[in-house]
C-alpha cells in the first residue's frame, strides 16, 4: 500500500495557492499610485485612501463576524495596536538611523511621490517591515484575546472584545510623551522606546509613508486572502461554525481552533490597516483610535454588507466612507441614519444586504425579481 495520500489543504497552501492574483494586486496598486493619484485632486485622493483602509478593516472583520459568526467588537483595538507598533518602529528607527523622523520613501510611497526618486527605497522597506510587525503584534494579541474568550458564546465574546478595546485605549493613554530629539532617542534603550508613544496627547511625528500604492496593495492582498479563505476547506470550517456550531463540532471541526484562527487572521489585517492609518498625512494617531466608536463604524460596514459577503463589506466600506460627504448638510443626523439603517436591516433583511453571497451572484438579486415580476436580475441590479 504505497499510494500517496492526497495533500490535506491547510492554511498555508490555501493562502499561497497561485501567485497570479498577487501580481495583479501589485499592478493595481501601482496604477492607483502612478496613474490615478497624479490625476485627481488631493481631496478625492484622501477619500480613496480612507476607502482603502476601511475596506481592509471591514473585510478583515468579516472573517470573524461574517464567516465565523462570532461577534468581535474590539476591532479598533487591534487596529490601534498595529498602528502604534508600526508607527513606533518607523519613527524611532528613522530617528536612530537617520536622525530625523521624516519619511524617506520613493515614488510609490506617500501621497505625492517625488520626481527622480527610485520607485522603492530603504524607507519603504522599513515601512513594509513595520506594517508586517504591526500586523503580527496585533495578531498575537488576537491570539491572546481569542484563546480564552472564544470559549464564550456570542454576547460574552462581544463584551470581552469591547473590554479589550477599552483596555488598549487606557493602556495607550498611560504611555509617556514622544521623544522628539535624536539624542534622546539614541540614549533610550530599545525597551524604553515603545513606552514613549505619546499617551493621551497622541503619537505625532510618524513619517508619512502611506499612499495609494501601499493602501491598495493592502486592500488587494486582504481581498485575495479573504476570497481564498472563503472558498477553502479552512473557510468552509469557518462557515460551518457560523451556520451551526454544534453540528460543525459533531462533524469533527475543531471549533475553538478555527475560531481562534479567524480572530488571529482578522487581527493581523486590522493591524496592517492600523499601520497604514498611522502613517497617513494629517492623521493624528491618538488613543481614541482604539475606542468603540471606531469599532462600531467597522461593525456597521460589516452588517450593512451582509455578514459574510466580502464584496458586500467592500461596498459598505465605500458607502460608509462617502456617506458623510453626501450628508454634509445634515451631519448631525448621520449617526441617526446609520442607527436606523442598522435596525431596519436587522428587522427586514436579517442577513445583511447581501448575506453570505457576493454582489455578482445572481441569487443575491433574486428577491428583487421575485417581488416585482417582470424585472429580471439585471433590472434589480440597477436599483
Amino acid at each position: 500500500m504505497s499510494h500517496e495520500t492526497p495533500p490535506t489543504p491547510g492554511l498555508v497552501s490555501s493562502l499561497v495557492r497561485g501567485y497570479m492574483p498577487f501580481v495583479v494586486a501589485v499592478g493595481v496598486a501601482i496604477v492607483m499610485q502612478v496613474v490615478v493619484r497624479p490625476n485627481v485632486d488631493p481631496y478625492p485622493a484622501k477619500l480613496l485612501l480612507d476607502i482603502g483602509i476601511n475596506c481592509i478593516l471591514a473585510v478583515s472583520l468579516t472573517m470573524v463576524n461574517g464567516f465565523t459568526g462570532q461577534f468581535s467588537m474590539g476591532h479598533a483595538g487591534f487596529m490601534a495596536v498595529g498602528g502604534y507598533a508600526s508607527g513606533a518602529i518607523t519613527y524611532y528607527t528613522s530617528m536612530r538611523v537617520w536622525g530625523a523622523g521624516e519619511a524617506r520613501g520613493g515614488v510609490l510611497s506617500g501621497m505625492l511621490g517625488g520626481e527622480g526618486l527610485p520607485w522603492l527605497t530603504v524607507g519603504d522597506g522599513l515601512f513594509l517591515f513595520s506594517l508586517i510587525v504591526g500586523g503580527v503584534v496585533a495578531a498575537g494579541l488576537g491570539y491572546l484575546v481569542g484563546l480564552p474568550s472564544l470559549r464564550l458564546k456570542g454576547d460574552y465574546l462581544a463584551i470581552v472584545t469591547l473590554g479589550f478595546g477599552e483596555i488598549v485605549r487606557v493602556v495607550i493613554q498611560q504611555t509617556s510623551p514622544v521623544l522628539t530629539s535624536a539624542e534622546e532617542v539614541r540614549q533610550a534603550t530599545i525597551l524604553q522606546l515603545p513606552t514613549h508613544v505619546g499617551g493621551s496627547l497622541g503619537f505625532s511625528g510618524i513619517p508619512y509613508y502611506t499612499g495609494l500604492f501601499w493602501v491598495y496593495l493592502g486592500v488587494c492582498v486582504t481581498l485575495i486572502v479573504a476570497f481564498r479563505l472563503k472558498t477553502s476547506t479552512f473557510g468552509r470550517a469557518f462557515l460551518s461554525i457560523r451556520n451551526d456550531e454544534i453540528a460543525a463540532e459533531a462533524m469533527g471541526v475543531n471549533t475553538t481552533r478555527y475560531k481562534v484562527w479567524a480572530f488571529v487572521i482578522a487581527a493581523f489585517f486590522a493591524g496592517i490597516a492600523g499601520g497604514l492609518f498611522s502613517h497617513t498625512l494629517g492623521v493624528g494617531l491618538s488613543p481614541e483610535a482604539a475606542g468603540f466608536l471606531r469599532s462600531f463604524d467597522v461593525i456597521i460596514m460589516v452588517v450593512l454588507g451582509g455578514l459574510g459577503s466580502i464584496s458586500g463589506a467592500v461596498a459598505a466600506a465605500i458607502i460608509v466612507t462617502l456617506l458623510p460627504e453626501w450628508l454634509r448638510g445634515v451631519a448631525e443626523y448621520r449617526m441617526i441614519i446609520y442607527a436606523l439603517a442598522l435596525i431596519l436591516i436587522m428587522i427586514f433583511r436579517p442577513k445583511g444586504l447581501f448575506g453570505v453571497r457576493e454582489v455578482w451572484d445572481r441569487a443575491t438579486w433574486a428577491w428583487l425579481s421575485r417581488r416585482k415580476s417582470g424585472t429580471g436580475a439585471r433590472g434589480g441590479a440597477r436599483e
Binding site: 454576547d155 463584551i159 473590554g163 487606557v170 449617526m335 428587522i347
Partner: protein, 308 residues
C-alpha cells in the same frame, strides 16, 4: 483608616449605582438572553431627563429655596420618561426579532443604542455640551468620623438605591408578576403554555429595567452634578461596567446583579485609591475576563447545561 473609610463610602455609593443599572441588564438577559446595549443610553436619558425637568421646574415655579419633594418628583418624571422609552424600544425594535438569531438582536441593540445616543446629541434635544443639574438635595454633612465626612447626598443616594433594590427583590420573588417573570426567564415556551402572557411580561421587564436605569441616571446626575453629553464615552463605559457587574454576579440573577455592582464599586474604588487611579477601567475589565474564565456563571449564577 480615614482613607479606608472614605474609599468605602465612595465604593458603596458608586457600587449601588452600578447595581441599579446592572439590574436592568440582568433582567433583560434573564428573559431574552441578549445584552441590551441600549440600556446605558436609557441611563443617560434618565440623567438628562431629570436635569431638564428639574431646571424647568425651578424656572417656572420660581422658588426661593428648592422644596424637599422636588427630587422625588423629578425622579418619578424621569422614571416615567425612561419607562415609556424602554417600552417603545422593546415593542418597535426587539419584538420583531423574537425568533431571530441572537447576533441579530445584538446588532439591533447596538443600533438602538446609537440611535438614542445620537438623537440625544441633537441641539433640539439635549445638545452636545455638558450641563449641570440644580441642587435637589441639601449640601449638608450629617456625620463625621475622624476626617471622613458623611454627606447627605451620599446617604440619600445609597438609601434610594437600596430601597429600590429591596423593592425589586420583593417584586421578583414575592409577587405574581415576579413569578411570571421568573417563569418566562426559565422557559418562555412552557411559560406561555401555562398561561403566562409572555409578551406582556417582557414589556413589563423592559419598563421595570428602564425605570431602574432612570433612577441610576438620576442619582448619577445628583452625585456628580455635571451631566456629560449623551454620546460621551463615559456613559458607554458606565453601561459596560454595570454589565460587567451583572456578569460577575451571575447574569440573569437579580441578587447577583446587586452583589456584582457592589463588588465592582469596591474593586474600582479601592484599586484607584491604593494602586493607580488611571487604571480603574482596566481592573474592572480584567475582573470580567477572570470571572468568565474561571466561573463563567458568575458568583451567584447556576451553571446551565446546554441542550442540543
Amino acid at each position: 483608616m480615614d482613607q479606608f473609610l472614605q474609599t468605602l463610602m465612595g465604593a458603596l455609593a458608586i457600587g449601588s449605582l452600578y447595581a441599579l443599572i446592572a439590574l436592568g441588564y440582568t433582567m433583560v438577559y434573564g428573559i431574552l438572553k441578549f445584552i441590551n446595549f441600549a440600556h446605558s443610553d436609557v441611563v443617560v436619558l434618565g440623567a438628562w431627563g431629570s436635569l431638564v425637568f428639574a431646571r424647568w421646574a425651578e424656572r417656572t415655579a420660581g422658588w426661593s429655596q428648592t422644596p424637599w419633594y422636588l427630587g422625588g418628583v423629578v425622579l418619578i418624571a424621569a422614571m416615567v420618561l425612561c419607562g415609556t422609552v424602554g417600552f417603545l424600544v422593546e415593542r418597535l425594535a426587539y419584538k420583531p426579532l423574537r425568533r431571530a438569531p441572537r447576533i441579530n438582536v445584538l446588532i439591533t441593540a447596538i443600533g438602538v443604542s446609537l440611535f438614542l445616543q445620537n438623537t440625544g446629541q441633537l441641539e433640539a434635544v439635549f445638545g452636545t455640551r455638558p450641563a449641570s443639574i440644580p441642587r435637589l438635595v441639601g449640601d449638608r454633612t450629617i456625620a463625621q468620623i475622624g476626617l471622613v465626612k458623611i454627606e447627605m447626598l451620599d446617604v440619600v443616594g445609597l438609601f434610594t438605591a437600596l430601597s429600590f433594590m429591596l423593592g425589586l427583590d420583593w417584586l421578583v420573588f414575592r409577587t405574581k408578576i415576579g413569578r411570571a417573570m421568573r417563569a418566562v426567564s426559565f422557559n418562555p415556551q412552557t411559560a406561555g403554555l401555562m398561561g403566562v402572557p409572555v409578551d406582556r411580561v417582557i414589556s413589563f421587564t423592559f419598563v421595570l429595567g428602564s425605570m431602574l436605569a432612570a433612577t441610576g441616571g438620576f442619582l448619577w446626575a445628583l452625585k456628580y452634578s455635571q451631566v456629560n453629553q449623551p454620546a460621551d464615552t463615559g456613559w458607554t463605559l458606565l453601561g459596560l461596567k454595570a454589565f460587567v457587574a451583572a456578569v460577575v454576579g451571575g447574569i440573569g440573577n437579580v441578587r447577583g446583579a446587586m452583589l456584582g455592582g457592589l463588588a465592582i464599586g469596591l474593586l474600582e474604588q479601592f484599586g484607584s485609591a491604593y494602586l493607580s487611579s488611571s487604571l480603574s477601567d482596566v481592573y474592572v475589565f480584567s475582573l470580567l475576563i477572570v470571572v468568565l474564565l474561571f466561573r463563567p456563571s458568575g458568583i451567584l449564577g447556576s451553571t446551565a447545561v446546554e441542550k442540543v
